[in-house]
């Protein structure tokens, strides 16, 4: 079986480390980027099966990354999970407006994230 590839765009390296451990334990292949620009480039080049996208990112913020991918025919099918420390409902709405498929707030429950990932991967 081919491993599903997940792109993790998150500037907090310790968080990348923690999530990678989680995801690899669930037999996903993890790619990671620590700013919006690299993330966007990697998404276009690698075409991962799913993207986990932090909202506050250096260079290009998560909203813009999401919008640029979701408004592009070539990449709009890649499911995106928005991921942030903000809990304001407003941000959630904005996230949905730019086309994010799911939204998770920090600190989150790992199981919730893993469930969301597997659900989204099944859908697509």
């Amino acid at each position: 079986m081919i491993k599903k590839r997940i792109l993790l765009i998150e500037d907090e390296v310790d968080m990348v480390y923690a999530l990678t451990l989680h995801l690899e334990a669930m037999h996903y292949e993890v790619l990671s980027a620590t700013d919006g620009q690299i993330g966007l480039d990697m998404a276009r080049k690698e075409k991962p099966d799913l993207i986990i996208l932090d909202l506050m990112l250096p260079k290009i913020d998560g909203y813009r990354v999401c919008r640029m991918l979701k408004f592009d025919e070539k990449y709009k099918k890649i499911p995106i999970i928005m991921f942030t420390a903000r809990v304001q409902e407003h941000d959630k709405k904005l996230g949905q407006e730019v086309g994010a498929d799911a939204y998770i707030t920090k600190p989150f429950d790992a199981q919730v994230l893993l469930n969301k990932i597997s659900a989204l991967l099944k859908e697509h």
Partner: protein
């Protein structure tokens, strides 16, 4: 002879003129409130006015020839004489010199003194004129103004500090979240044995770590909530729920939590659904805060009861425990920030004491009340109320489909619903069938839509009228809040008029405007129509079953031990009264009250009432005003009184 008359006449005229002039001066001297006096070079009074004499309690003539030494204390007199000498030797007047003086009756006051030298025709100083004015009031005003200014400045800087503090808390809390999230993830990874086996003891330690991460997260969330509330950036997202469902959601969780402490937690619900239009997450937060507090502060083997009571226009949720209770000293500040209930040994105090203050703010944002009654060693009773909402499924299937289409095509819209209460009864009274009523109502609606600048109303506007149930549903695509509000207002008015022309007077109509965001409800902007998606369509209008009126009268409350409490202003409906009193009553206690309508004082209305809800009135900065607004509901109000009240209410619009 002729000569003399010619001479005496002008002389007489002169005399009259002089007399008149003298009279003018005398009037001035006698009636002016200022003290006026003339002194000679030796400081003796030549003449003083009425005010001066009255101030010293003598007749003006009695002061002539006296000096300041005869009238005032030595110290004061010396000062005065020095001033006099100065004025007379230098020729420089003293003008408006402010001095503090003690009056003969011992009262401290302020005077302003003016002293001007007098000269004879050769230019030699022969004395002085003095005027003294009491400026105590002016000085008091000035001091008040200064105080007010400095208080104002203090308030402003306090507000500034408070805003800075809130911003700081907000920034810090956000910063704390990220590392906390990482800690949680990493500990979970180790705990779940993702990176290798963990022995039993290690697991125990990790579990404790995770528990404390949760605790820290809760504190950070609370801090963020507080800063949001204080900075007014907390947004509520309303939806319609049955409050019973909301409680049932968490019932098993809390029952188990209580069972772990050997506490019995019982819920009692009403049989009917109780619809409320609330931010579900936020009210859930309030409920869980109250219940977990109750569990926290109740000893093993205790009891907790969660009850839902339907009031006239509200629903009251009570959390009643047999816990350690709150002392009278702690009670008033219990809803303040950073207050942790009693530090009794044996209770595991957790949290930073923000929960109740957040709960209070959240309930108040929902236009509800929250209060507590408690006795040390007996237990506490926390109550809060929420407004009940009428809810009917206003959208039939056909309408729902059409709305769905509009939403899909990205059209924003307003949804106005109108509910005529007791419509069936009115129909009977009017002896009108449902078809003609339907026709009439439809005509009203058409005329209203035409009335509101027709070009602004989209052709896709649609409506459903169900006269049987008295329901109106109108969907208005692409209109502003203001337009939607205008339409519903006009519609309500016209329908009222229609019923009135058919001699149906006491019609009561509720209007609901629809949105899941607070915007439409706050009626503030009138600019952009808010968007909503189909699954969020609810109809809600505040439950006001009874018409009410406010007036001023004397209302008497008969309390236990034959005490009587008076209140002046009342709000009366057929269901009960609402008034402001200085005494804290007990929830659900029963008492008697009496009042009269101002224009019909012969009939004294006497009724038994039950205390339904209480709101403590706060001053600025949460200071206690010592007053409470209470809602009292009638118990078995006598029919004759019911008639009087409803007749009176019918007269109000």
């Amino acid at each position: 002879m002729k000569k003399t008359t010619r001479i005496t006449e002008p002389k007489h005229m002169e005399f009259v003129e002089l007399k008149n002039k003298y009279q003018l001066l005398k009037d001035l001297m006698d009636f002016i409130p200022d003290v006026i006096y003339f002194k000679d070079v030796k400081g003796k009074f030549i003449m003083v006015n009425q005010a001066h004499a009255v101030g010293l309690g003598v007749k003006p003539e009695a002061l002539v020839g006296k000096t300041d030494f005869d009238l005032f204390s030595r110290d004061r007199a010396i000062k005065m004489i020095e001033d006099d000498a100065n004025v007379m030797s230098t020729g420089k007047p003293i003008i408006d010199k402010v001095e503090r003086a003690t009056r003969t009756d011992g009262v401290d006051n302020y005077v302003s003194t003016t002293k001007i030298p007098r000269y004879d025709h050769k230019g030699k100083v022969i004395g002085l004129i003095g005027i003294t004015r009491d400026i105590t009031r002016r000085m008091q005003f000035e001091r008040l103004r200064k105080d007010k200014n400095s208080i104002q400045k203090k308030l402003e800087s306090l507000e500034e500090v408070s805003a800075m503090k809130s911003e700081f808390i907000s920034a810090v809390s956000h910063e704390l979240r990220t590392p906390l999230a990482v800690i949680k993830q990493l500990v979970t990874i180790v705990f779940n044995e993702v990176v290798g086996r963990v022995n039993y003891k290690q697991k125990g330690a990790l579990q404790k770590t995770l528990d404390n991460v949760e605790r820290l997260k809760k504190i950070i969330d609370d801090l963020l909530d507080v800063s949001r509330i204080e900075r007014n950036t907390l947004k509520l997202h309303y939806s319609l729920v049955d409050v019973v469902d909301l409680l049932k959601d968490s019932a098993s969780f809390f029952t188990q939590l209580a069972a772990e402490k050997n506490i019995s937690l019982k819920y009692s619900y009403p049989k009917e659904p109780v619809n409320v239009f609330i931010d579900v997450d936020r009210i859930r937060q309030v409920i869980s805060n109250l219940i977990s507090n109750a569990i926290k502060f109740t000893m093993d083997g205790g009891m907790i009861k969660v009850e839902v009571k339907i009031l006239e226009a509200k629903v009251r949720i009570g959390v009643i425990d047999t816990g350690i209770g709150i002392s009278n000293a702690d009670l008033p500040s219990i809803f303040n920030k950073f207050i942790q209930v009693s530090k009794l040994a044996g209770t595991d105090n957790k949290g930073v004491g923000l929960g109740l203050s957040i709960s209070k703010k959240l309930v108040e944002r929902h236009k509800g009340e929250i209060w507590v009654e408690s006795k040390v060693g007996v237990g506490s009773r926390f109550y809060f109320t929420l407004l009940r909402f009428y809810t009917l499924d206003m959208l039939g299937k056909s309408l729902r489909d059409r709305v769905g289409k509009l939403i899909k095509s990205g059209v924003s819209m307003h949804f106005v619903s109108l509910l005529i209460l007791n419509c069936n009864e009115f129909r009977k009274r009017m002896r009108i069938g449902s078809k003609p009523l339907f026709k009439d109502l439809h005509a009203i609606l058409d005329s209203v839509l035409k009335n509101v600048k027709s070009k602004d109303i989209d052709k896709r506007a649609m409506s459903v009228i169900s006269p049987q149930a008295g329901k109106f549903s109108i969907i208005l695509p692409e209109v502003s809040n203001r337009q939607a509000a205008n339409i519903s207002r006009l519609l309500k008015y016209k329908i009222k008029q229609y019923f009135a022309s058919n001699k149906v007077q006491d019609i009561f109509i509720t209007v609901g405007s629809l949105s899941y965001s607070q915007k439409v409800f706050s009626h503030d902007d009138g600019l952009s129509p808010s968007r909503f998606s189909i699954k969020e369509i609810y109809i809600g209008s505040e439950m006001r079953r009874f018409k009410r009126m406010s007036f001023k009268t004397n209302i008497k409350l008969f309390l236990p031990e034959e005490k009587v409490e008076l209140s002046e202003s009342v709000d009366v409906s057929i269901g009960g009264v609402c008034l402001v009193i200085k005494r804290l009553l007990k929830t659900d206690s029963q008492l008697k009250l009496s009042f009269v309508f101002p224009e019909n004082k012969e009939v004294i209305i006497v009724a038994k009432v039950r205390v339904a809800w209480i709101r403590k009135i706060d001053l600025l900065f949460g200071e206690d005003a010592g007053k409470y607004k209470v809602g009292l509901e009638f118990i078995n109000l006598k029919n004759e009184y019911k008639k009087i009240i409803s007749r009176r209410l019918a007269k109000t619009t």
